[in-house]
């Protein structure tokens, strides 16, 4: 019997001040040259990283959540972290979806019940994305997507997601609404034609420096969790 490891969802109440996604960053030392230059072998595949920073927050209901996180984030537990607080993700205005609030559906939309934010203040969730224009096999670094009626604003350096994996656009070539993308890291699962590709990526990872997260915890009136780096978990 195959049981998947437990993956915790990042608690949405723990607000992030910034996120930085980077991928394919590993090399191994390769050797010497007569001029003394450092030579590195790029590591095939590699993993992606997500660096996260947190704002100061007053003591309140999130205290216990932070306490829970401080324990859970260690020992290599897996977290599914949404990547939103970053300019690396296509914003609504980039996509021409003006008037929307961050993380919620535009209020011009018709037929919403209730036609107002939920009691918790959250808006209706929505997820802009594209579909795969062709099938691609696990392990490749190139795929093509069809953005349909959305503008072709996806650029090299943007981050998008497929399922729970985030990919960096290494290079992109537009042809109408179809884009051929070189990605980093390599595709982690087989992709079929018409599979959904989200512009609101998530990443499953584990903290490489959990002690940094709990370093600043104190009994003062505000606390600020330390920055933490998540490393992609290869499931």
């Amino acid at each position: 019997m195959i049981t998947a490891p437990k993956v915790y969802d990042w608690p949405s109440q723990i607000v992030l001040s910034s996120q930085l996604f980077h991928a394919g960053g590993q090399i191994r030392d390769g050797g010497f040259t007569s001029s003394g230059a450092r030579v590195g072998y790029p590591e095939p595949g590699g993993r992606s990283f997500l660096e996260m920073e947190f704002p100061s927050q007053r003591h309140g209901p999130t205290d216990t959540l932070i306490s829970w996180l401080m324990s859970r984030i260690s020992n290599g537990n897996l977290f599914r972290v949404p990547i939103g607080r970053s300019v690396q993700v296509l914003s609504d205005s980039d996509l021409g979806l003006s008037g929307g609030a961050t993380g919620g559906l535009l209020w011009a939309a018709e037929g919403l019940v209730p036609a107002r934010p939920w009691d918790g203040g959250n808006l209706w969730a929505y997820e802009p994305g594209a579909v795969a224009a062709a099938a691609a096999l696990e392990g490749v670094t190139e795929l093509s997507i069809d953005v349909g009626s959305l503008p072709s604003t996806l650029n090299a350096g943007h981050v998008f997601g497929i399922d729970d994996t985030a990919y960096l656009v290494d290079d992109i070539d537009w042809d109408g609404s179809i884009a051929t993308i070189k990605i980093d890291p390599p595709l982690r699962a087989d992709l079929s034609e018409d599979d959904f590709i989200t512009f609101r990526p998530k990443m499953i990872g584990f903290a490489v420096n959990p002690e940094s997260f709990r370093a600043n915890y104190g009994s003062a009136s505000t606390i600020r969790p330390g920055p933490v780096t998540m490393m992609e978990a290869l499931l």
Binding site: T3, K182, P185
Partner: protein
């Protein structure tokens, strides 16, 4: 020459500046355990090769390889060095490290006399984890036995329990110095007969000398 070496020559060949060389070669090891073939490559993530096999990446997030292959030496001098392949077991989906450790320990016969084959994989720029150059064979060993080790280590403030399995393998030179068939004498033959469960009255080689240099006619 195989495609592997052709490509490697192409990549290295005419280039005289080291910064232009972009060849990535990694080891792949195929442990052909009876009923449980295990393919591991020294790298991160799942590798898909052109023979449609999937190889598990041995590097964990700390850049540490969970499989530590020994240095392979050239067998042409006739020696048969012992190679130890140490595998650190980790919790994988479906099997905790301890369960896997116990299972391997209970079924050690799956290792005996099974082949262990080493290959090289060549990665070109932009190929990701699906290189299209076929793997290049470089070594075949025979697995002989396994050793088990578990330890409890203190690392900083946390206690880490480690389970490791070491596969012992030899190359084709193993056993070359043994006399084929062993010594041939009446007492040795009788000992062999006993091992085979035959009668104690086996005559062994008692007649061998007297049977020599004779002509027999088969009726």
């Amino acid at each position: 020459m195989s495609l592997f070496y052709d490509r490697l020559d192409e990549i290295i060949g005419a280039t005289d500046s080291q910064s232009e060389i972009r060849a990535m070669v990694r080891q792949c090891w195929f442990f052909d355990f009876d009923g449980y073939p295990l393919r591991v490559w020294i790298g991160q993530g799942k590798l898909h090769t052109s023979d449609s096999n999937t190889w598990l990446g041995s590097m964990n997030g700390n850049g540490q390889s969970l499989l530590q292959p020994p240095r392979i030496s050239d067998g042409r001098d006739g020696t048969a060095p012992t190679y130890d392949f140490k595998i650190l077991l980790v919790d994988t989906p479906g099997a905790r490290a301890q369960e896997m450790y116990d299972a391997i320990k209970a079924e050690q016969w799956r290792v005996n006399e099974r082949p262990l084959t080493g290959y090289h994989a060549l990665f070109q720029v932009g190929e990701g984890l699906r290189p299209n150059t076929p793997l290049e064979f470089f070594k075949e060993l025979t697995m002989q036995s396994v050793l088990f080790d578990e330890s409890l280590d203190m690392e900083g403030t946390s206690i880490v329990r480690r389970y490791s399995v070491t596969v012992i393998a030899k190359d084709g030179n193993a056993g070359r110095s043994n006399v084929p068939g062993g010594t041939y004498s009446p007492s040795v033959q009788r000992a062999r007969a006993r091992q085979l469960g035959l009668d104690y009255d086996d005559k062994g080689c008692d007649f061998v000398a007297s049977l020599s240099d004779r002509t027999y006619q088969i009726p």
